[in-house]
Symmetry: C2
Subunit: 455 residues, 2 copies
């Protein structure tokens, strides 16, 4: 801890400013690398998507023509703001990036892009970059937990808590003092924004949300380094985040197990290429179909027993017309899982509007389930009731969907997923270049300076 | 109106997208020019302030080294985002920029900077630029009125409604269709942010708020031009602005008198260099002192009868330690007015901590007044009770503080104010350069292309 720390500095700011890579337990370090490789695949898969291209084109037009910060998929660099904006916009669109269940927060989408940009600008070491990312994960997840379920009903937590996560990661790279980190939190929190309203028409805002969080947090940290001050108590002050944007905020969550509980390692990988709220039911359906050797045509009806958040986010999506919307359609996801055993990017693109998919989609409903809702968001239980065409009624259940910490992916699965995602990008990265980049990325901890990920 | 307008496009988006300079009544056109000149002075006064320098340095580091968009006070240009960020940050710090009473919204601070940057980039005509600014004023003010007093209790309306105002102005310059304008509103509204919490410690966030609103709105409009979509109903949707950030939102205010009521012309100029909430009482005190020929040393005690918003914003500021904080101290403002007859930038700098000021400050209190509170925010009534050292108790009252539409500034006063502000900047603009720039600015309507304001 630096000497300038007044007693009043928030412990979360002290933690983020003083976290060293040696403080991070080895299994958490390995998990951080897993999450980084997984994020890299998501960015490559997303960088060609139309809304992402719009944001990247805007970002590049606002930045210098060259610079130290890599804009992934564009074979060029720019200033930190432009690179962070473009890469963060690309992180989330394939809906394959990670998620922390308890906070319903997607840390990779808002942490890695700004941290990478600033690490490349400053020539930070690989381990310093990774430590900064852990700071971002630990802060963002706790802020998400703090803001609670009432917040998530209206606000996209990845967007709002994301500004704090980005500020923590960049602030740690900039070696902010604890007091400066607190100022960065103030400046980040007062830019916290992101409303779910876009879901009603399937608009492009999600990609704007991650871009905004990444750049707002980056700016907050850079300003703090220059002496710019922010609110001292942006979390619980009378006119702070909780006062404005939550009715059930729990301040104890901000400091829950700081330095002993590693929220980074609680983060889940997404196996299906859809909204995480669909995964528990998808896995429960898969489990049932495998156990009973069912085919898609055996399904007469599926009832998903879900938590309220799933109804809120997925409920409005009844007749998806774009592939992105269809990733928020429980019926579409279950139909693809039933037909292909997996709802990956390829399955969505080829099949989300196929007559067989639509027919199955129409036979899927959701109902609120008290047990599932009570366990959420700490545990995402999947429960489905399936009626077969020959009249059987079967109950499926998973307590931990694939990708959750207790049912996690191996490094082979993570590499394979990242390479599938890289191949999905437009233009796709050549397979050997992608494989070489992923291979290099697994060794980033040892790099004296973080270079460009695509060389 | 363009042909692509679906019936469902919000009337406010249709209005902003289709507003022509000829639609604007001549007195409103003249008032728009008044507001522009007044803003120009505020930017020049503010560009050297420490928090503004921090933001400008960050913005310039993120942008190209040269560009078509003027960064005022820096004798250089950059891309639109960097210029809008720096100029918007400078707009509000001197607390001399305009305010719309009914919405408690400072339109100049978030409208002119992004509109100027995009006008310079595109080579827009002076009248087109002015029309875009009117669109920004009309939209931002109505959004502020819509969000209501509950919003203002926690959120800085200039920051939040400011994203919409900036998007409207830039979107109009980009010739967005009404549907694109609605998308721009969605993208702007989902970035709406800005909490009052910074006031508790007098932090620098206000300057970040205007910079953020200007750039978020600019980005939203540019993205919409490229086909990027936003929420269709960001205002009143179930997970939109009102749902997340207001408990008394009134949708009728969004369309109140569109095209017939010109909110632009309702905007007030600030005469004193302090928070607007102090002005009614300051003018009431002045009126009383002039009527009774009182000097500062005749004052034993002043009680200000104020609206709740004044207590909320000014109440926490009891012992200001910086000149910026002192502009939110009712006692300081009244003390300067009593001593010098005016609380301008020079009076604050020289006198905010003078023993005579502090002694008077301590004899000023505020109490909630039912009549003043009921009239607010439509009318900002000033009422004070003054007890003199010889025991008299006097009542002072003004129904419209100086600078309000019914008690507005002449063009001579506006020019003089702008030149005083320009001379206050650091480094100060040479007086002849400032005078020439203001003179040119009065003729901007006739310019075929908006050039650099400082030539």
């Amino acid at each position: 801890m630096k000497n300038d720390t007044p007693a009043a500095v928030h412990p979360l700011a002290v933690f983020a400013a003083t976290l060293d890579w040696q403080d991070v337990p080895v299994p958490v370090r390995r998990r951080t690398e897993d999450l980084l490789v997984d994020w890299f695949g998501s960015v490559l898969a997303g960088q060609g998507a139309r809304p992402v291209r719009s944001i990247a084109d805007f970002a590049l037009a606002q930045g210098p023509e060259a610079g130290p910060c890599e804009v992934l998929g564009h074979a060029r660099g720019s200033a930190p703001m432009a690179a962070a904006m473009a890469n963060a916009a690309a992180s989330h669109v394939a809906e394959q990036d990670d998620v922390h269940n308890g906070s319903v927060f997607h840390p990779a989408a808002v942490v890695f892009a700004p941290a990478l940009a600033v690490a490349q600008q400053r020539g930070a070491s690989g381990s310093d970059f990774l430590a900064a990312c852990v700071a971002g994960y630990e802060v963002g997840i706790r802020v998400g937990e703090f803001l609670g379920r009432s917040h998530y009903r209206v606000f996209h937590t990845t967007a709002t808590a994301g500004t704090l996560a980005a500020a923590a990661a960049v602030g740690r790279l900039l070696r902010l003092t604890p007091l400066q980190m607190q100022h960065a939190f103030g400046s980040a929190g007062t830019q916290s924004a992101g409303l779910w309203e876009f879901l009603a028409t399937g608009a492009d805002s999600k990609q704007l949300h991650t871009a905004h969080a990444a750049t707002a947090g980056l700016m907050a940290a850079c300003l703090a380094q220059d002496g710019f001050t922010g609110a001292a108590d942006i979390f619980t002050g009378a006119r702070g985040l909780a006062a404005g944007m939550s009715t059930d905020a729990d301040p104890s969550r901000l400091v829950d197990g700081l330095g002993t509980r590693w929220a980074t390692a609680e983060t889940s990988f997404k196996w299906h290429a859809s909204c995480r709220h669909t995964h528990p039911a998808a896995d429960a359906l898969l489990q049932l179909m495998q156990a009973h050797k069912l085919q898609a045509q055996d399904i007469a009806e599926v009832t998903c027993h879900v938590h309220q958040g799933a109804l809120d986010v997925l409920g409005p999506v009844v007749s998806p017309v774009t592939v992105h919307q269809s990733k928020f359609s429980m019926g579409t996801v279950l139909a693809l899982v039933a037909r292909f055993g997996h709802a990956g990017l390829g399955e969505f693109d080829a099949g989300f509007l196929a007559p067989e998919t639509v027919a199955l989609r129409e036979r899927v409903t959701m109902v609120l389930d008290a047990e599932v809702d009570a366990a959420y968001p700490r545990r995402w239980i999947g429960k489905v009731t399936l009626r077969t065409t020959d009249g059987r009624v079967l109950q499926g259940r998973v307590d931990e969907p694939k990708g959750d910490p207790g049912n996690t992916l191996s490094r082979e699965e993570i590499t394979a997923k990242a390479l599938r995602l890289a191949a999905y990008g437009s233009p796709a990265l050549p397979a050997d270049a992608a494989a070489a980049a992923v291979e290099r990325l697994w060794g980033i901890e040892q790099q004296p300076r973080v270079g460009w990920l695509l060389g």
